[in-house]
Symmetry: C2
Subunit: 479 residues, 2 copies
């Protein structure tokens, strides 16, 4: 959706001190800075719309201070969620945020160099020399063609990038989003100073000590500083897990089922919605028999004993809402088969129109309004002649239309744009937000203004001006 | 601990428009403004150290927009947590934050007029007339004696006050603190403009739309604006509840038991620690037989079926840590009897030295460091000749020493001050915080500086200066 905007230069700092020196240098020269993790964001967050220096932080990839007793670990920006969970194997702990839902516009494992075309900006040559002299990091000022953007659902995002985006995913209904799962952040401020949002070396599980800087930097999308380390809250691995699929006669029935599950305090770990178009596409793509109907994919975590009770409760609630009878997948392989169907939703959607591009919307509404908003959105898709199967983290009221369109057709691109604006406004009218987990980036700045109102936007601007007075950090994003 | 500092005048606005008009007036005249809810804070948050206008918001007490499907409700600042939970009776929902732990320095149900002495400041007479003319609210410029500060553990704090403080309490281990349970705040900014932190009328369960203003205002202690409405997240009432008490041979054993409970993913609702001094005092005060030992008070929530399993797991873990055998209280009366013992901990502590005053410390440390910090603190208490039984929300690493001392004895007051500073620094050295849930207020400003470091404090100051450039909102607090 966002045309490629390469920076003037890319740097690969390998230690926080280098990030500080580089930032101080850019600050003195008033050069824009763009943080880069894995480039899996959806809203153009790494586009250097005003040029400047791209800081590719992937070479800072230490995992430190794992404390099993405190359920905490500290990671640098090069550490992805998969790498962390691999590191945690055998400890009985895991990091549950983002297991599905961190779709990527960019292919997995690409660096900034591969992702972005990098012409040398004329004004940058002097700065570049200075960077080389001062810091001794690799700098690549060569020009590359801007590659076409790839899509990778379930991309293996970096944890600091997920913090910067305010990401969440399928497990959020039980384990929360990134925000409550970040205990501390080490931030390089725009002028190179080092800030620890909860104080240096601290990681209490709760604090009431001054304004919550951690929550301010989570979701700041690189516009306030570089997240160069995150201390995360880990969770015990469940003893047992069970997954099931249920089909419903309508969207309303699937959502009513979800509300009842939440009201009955069933500690559901994931509750994912597919509309009938998505269910059909996923069934075809993954070669599974899946009824063409509003569908819920449910996962339960617990002890073996409590799982049996949860399953019984779930069966009862699904039946009350005219859902199909449930078959439970409890073995790892069977469970992974079901989830890989959901993981492949992006590709399944793209397969509906081969050769086309995808874009995912991201509204989130109060759950009571979800059936109406989903139904109206499906009518809008139809009236607009667009392909947009739906998936949703329905326990949170968050759903995505995976819009599949021909980006070479300006008329269709225009219809896509108009549709996403209408969808955003529909969510706002229902008391929701234009973005539940993908962030604002470039694409939702106008909607953000409508969402927050003038006072809200003015307050964001005041904070931005206070912490980045020269507007050097990822300029043009969010605000 | 904090000498009474009355404002020049108290106003009782009855609608948000009046708060806006009054704030705009104070802003034009550069008069300090101090928000007042129920006055139950512990760190002098309502003290008008620079005089000015105290805004008593207790007459704004509407409960609106209860949505059972969305698990949400909107409350004005006069609504206390007990009033809300009374309002929710019969709905199957409740608001779990703060059930114990909102100790009050001020007696329950007192207004600002009763709490604070209110001489007319000479410079305020003109302003006062303007307030009367412009807004037509009650204003009381008379002088009252400053009453002695009362203590009320489990005080019925206002929910907006709890949000302003970043409060939590005993249920936080399961349901979180105030921060994740506030969905939106309606804030009157220092110049009278109205801000909705998540946008007007919005309450999605998650958002990634710009900087998280809600989390910024939660815990801002009245220094950034008036919280005139909070939209809160509600939780389903548990089907069944069981409470028990366990005695342990040492602090270490009690904490090890807690860590194991968390690691086993037992969804414990409350896990409260009493040291042997507190257990002894509580036993005497509440006339219950309680061994003089490190003690855990445990509460479980769940379905009847899952409760049985949790109880079994708990018994096993307690046994492994040499705890006493467990007797479960499942009936309401029995459970309330046990909790009233814990509720009365403050009075039980005061009863150790009749006629003396109490002050509660509030450090929070990573749980792995808790045994050492508790043991060192007990040694420090002994070496300092101080009375300070301990209670703690041990699942979060948060504990309080209820210091009982003769405030008329300057030498003892000096020892108390030195002890609290040492305790704060001990928590910081262990990677913790000087305040887990009581806030900074007047008493912990120096410790906050040590906790955050210069960059952290500078960042807080930048934010304060950006949102309240004339330093009119609750000046002298936090920073």
């Amino acid at each position: 959706m966002h045309p490629c905007a390469p920076p003037d230069v890319v740097v690969w700092p390998q230690a926080v001190g280098q990030v500080q020196e580089l930032a101080a240098l850019c600050h003195r020269c008033r050069v824009p800075m763009v943080p880069f993790g894995t480039g899996t964001g959806l809203e153009g967050g790494v586009n250097a719309v005003q040029g400047g220096v791209c800081f590719d932080l992937s070479r800072m990839d230490a995992i430190a201070e794992l404390s099993l007793e405190d359920f905490s670990v500290t990671v640098e920006p090069g550490v992805t969620r998969k790498a962390l969970n691999k590191h945690l194997r055998g400890t009985g702990l895991w990091f549950p945020v983002g297991t599905v839902g961190m779709r990527g516009v960019i292919g997995l494992g690409m660096t900034a160099l591969e992702v972005l075309g990098i012409p040398v900006g004329l004004g940058m040559v002097g700065v570049l020399g200075m960077i080389g002299v001062h810091v001794g990091v690799d700098t690549i000022p060569i020009c590359l063609p801007c590659p076409s953007l790839l899509a990778d659902p379930g991309a293996d995002a970096s944890l600091c990038g997920m913090a910067a985006t305010g990401a969440s995913g399928t497990n959020a209904v039980r384990y929360g989003t990134m925000r409550p799962n970040v205990l501390n952040l080490r931030v390089v401020l725009p002028d190179g100073r080092l800030l620890h949002t909860a104080g240096p070396g601290r990681q209490p599980r709760k604090r009431a000590a001054g304004y919550d800087l951690t929550s301010l930097f989570v979701g700041s999308e690189g516009t306030l500083g570089f997240l160069t380390q995150a201390t995360l809250r880990l969770h015990p691995l469940p003893e047992a897990t069970a997954v099931t699929v249920a089909s419903f006669p309508s969207v309303g029935a699937a959502v009513a089922c979800t509300v009842q599950v939440l009201q009955a305090a069933v500690p559901v770990a994931r509750i994912e919605f597919l509309d009938e178009v998505m269910a059909d596409a996923c069934g075809h793509f993954s070669r599974m028999e899946l009824p063409v109907a509003a569908t819920l994919l449910l996962e339960l975590h617990g002890s073996r004993h409590s799982l049996a009770e949860q399953q019984q409760q779930m069966e009862e609630i699904v039946r009350q809402n005219s859902g199909s009878s449930l078959a439970w997948a409890e073995g790892l392989e069977e469970r992974e088969q079901l989830w890989s169907m959901r993981h492949n939703a992006w590709y399944a959607a793209l397969a509906l129109r081969p050769g086309c591009q995808g874009y995912s919307t991201d509204v989130c509404v109060p759950i009571s309004r979800l059936p109406d908003v989903v139904v109206e959105t499906k009518q809008d898709l139809q009236a607009s002649g667009l392909t947009g199967p739906m998936v949703g983290h329905v326990g949170d009221g968050n759903f995505h239309c995976i819009l599949v369109f021909n980006s070479q057709d300006p008329e269709e691109a225009q219809r896509i744009h108009a549709f996403t604006q209408r969808l955003g406004r529909r969510a706002l009218a229902a008391g929701g937000t234009c973005t539940g987990e993908h962030g604002v980036g470039l694409g939702k700045r106008a909607l953000l203004q409508e969402e927050l109102g003038q006072e809200g936007l003015d307050t964001l601007r005041s904070i931005k001006a206070a912490l980045d007075p020269h507007n050097l950090m990822n300029p043009g994003k969010v605000l």
